[in-house]
Symmetry: C2
């Protein structure tokens, strides 16, 4: 019987989801103080679920907005709380992370929200801000750098991530939440957005995306086999380094707009000094089987997404291609 045919209440699937959770707990060293939930609907569903579960409608919450995803999260939160953007990188085209000491946090905020890695802009938090008060929790959307490096989960109240970048197929969303935060959802919370329902039912309140969870479990096993997230991070650092080095040593032929100290290990955006060559770059690369290098429609340019599954050889091939392309067109 395929995993696709199994009952989600049968012992076969139970052992799959329990093993997946257990391996993820090992990978990220998640303590028993936290629940691990396998949900649906992507990070976008969590943009609503978080304020609905953590706030009353009049509660203040703080958002640091370092890109498009953080901005979307902030806008959705306004339906269920009183969110405030305490820092935005928009005027600098989302190329920076703020200095944490300069942040003016609301002492009454229920949480401080960040997007740990902005997929479109390639801006990644290398360290995390500390909320002003103990009562304020740190919440992070880690969709695009989840399991790409070790993270000290105990610093966060909630970590959430769509699976589809690093740990599985689209259609699975993982939420790691401190258990004492569960159980205070607003009355109008849809049952499927209520963390209490999912925690009490071990993510089996209704039929979960079984096959996707199974695939995530296989990836967690593989990441453990690789030596865990310390080793995974080393590989990701090496991949990113050779790519950023190629950009920075191109005498301006290629440019990455992001502050060097906060460049993403996952998403590397770059432009050409001659923008008229960009279409040619994307097309020629595709001819050599390097696809999806076009930047997000909202920012243009190019973007190389070098998630966990991209091997070093793939990045090396891209770098060699970039040098050839520059030699020809530089």
């Amino acid at each position: 019987m395929s995993v696709m045919e199994m009952s989600h209440r049968g012992k076969e699937f139970l052992s799959i989801i329990q093993k997946a959770e257990s391996d993820l707990r090992t990978l990220l060293n998640i303590s028993d103080e936290y629940a691990v939930l396998f949900l649906q609907g992507g990070a976008t569903t969590q943009f609503a679920a978080i304020p609905l579960n953590i706030c009353s409608p009049d509660d203040a919450v703080d958002y640091i907005v370092t890109g498009s995803w953080g901005d979307k999260a902030f806008k959705e939160a306004a339906k269920y709380s009183k969110p405030n953007v305490i820092w935005s990188g928009k005027s600098e085209k989302y190329t920076k992370i703020p200095n944490f000491d300069s942040l003016v946090q609301n002492p009454d905020a229920k949480y401080l929200h960040i997007c740990a890695n902005e997929t479109i802009h390639g801006v990644e938090f290398k360290d995390y801000p500390t909320p002003l008060n103990e009562k304020t929790i740190l919440v992070a959307d880690m969709s695009s750098n989840f399991c790409s490096k070790p993270v000290d989960v105990s610093k966060f109240g909630i970590i959430y991530a769509g699976a589809q970048k690093n740990v599985g197929p689209s259609g699975v969303t993982i939420v790691i939440i401190r258990k004492d935060l569960i159980g205070n959802a607003q009355e109008s919370t849809p049952v499927m957005l209520d963390y209490k329902i999912h925690a009490e039912n071990n993510s089996l309140y209704n039929t979960p995306p079984c096959y996707g969870i199974y695939m995530c479990g296989l990836v967690f096993e593989d990441l453990l086999d690789q030596g865990g997230l310390v080793e995974v991070e080393k590989k990701n650092q090496k991949k990113a380094q050779i790519l950023y080095d190629a950009i920075d040593s191109s005498n301006g032929f290629y440019r990455c707009p992001v502050d060097k100290s906060v460049r993403s290990l996952m998403n590397v955006p770059f432009t050409l000094a001659k923008p008229e060559l960009e279409a040619e770059f994307v097309k020629t690369a595709a001819g050599e089987k390097m696809v999806q290098l076009k930047g997000h429609r909202s920012v243009g340019g190019m973007r190389a997404s070098i998630y966990n599954a991209m091997p070093l050889a793939g990045v090396e091939k891209l770098v060699a291609f970039m040098k050839e392309f520059q030699a020809k067109h530089g």
Copy 2:
């Protein structure tokens, strides 16, 4: 590249989701007046989305409750509307469908909700009630009999279905909605529950469950190859008939509690006159590779789910086993 690796915005995946939609439109003869959405979160998410999109909080809505799923839908609707149960089969242990002429509908109801097939209780609507007013739409949860037979979509305002019974893996939810009903969601509707967002973005507002949608598309192709839903229904009728015949001709050794006229073609619940034999029945059947025959934990007994994918030979094998089991224990 596997479908799991594709960008949901690439032309390869676009052609997959467009073909899936087109084939579903052919199968169910869905007119251009309706939008077809591929969503996440199961029917349970729709229990909230429907009143949120169709009602103001003070609007009345009518529910016919013929089993557990209809009851859950009703309870969720109370968060976003004023739902009223106009008929419930609970006192008769959900074994009946009401006589439509006897229903007292609310003339101001925004919609009339039914669960077309109750998975746990095996009760299926063979025809559909007509709302009292033109302004009241008929809404149906078809999760467990979707694409098992032809349906006149034009009778409904909304049809919704989790894919996992008949058309694909878990993690995909299909919503068919008359386009004029879209665009009036309550302000507090999570963006992921707003039909307008999904319709405007052709189900690609955020990353959809790509692989699941691909699988649904393959199933739709197969159902068309089988000759469409008229032929599929004939097969389902034959499968159900030999199983119900075996139960009814067992001189009471097996019993199906459901009214004969509304017995489900998909889920066949039955009990043994000697309940102490039920565990033995399930165990022995499993020994012959017929699994998942135990009834839902809320009702007990046995349940044979004979969805589209169950071949006639599978039902014949079960029937032969039932006769043997009766000969031994009767």
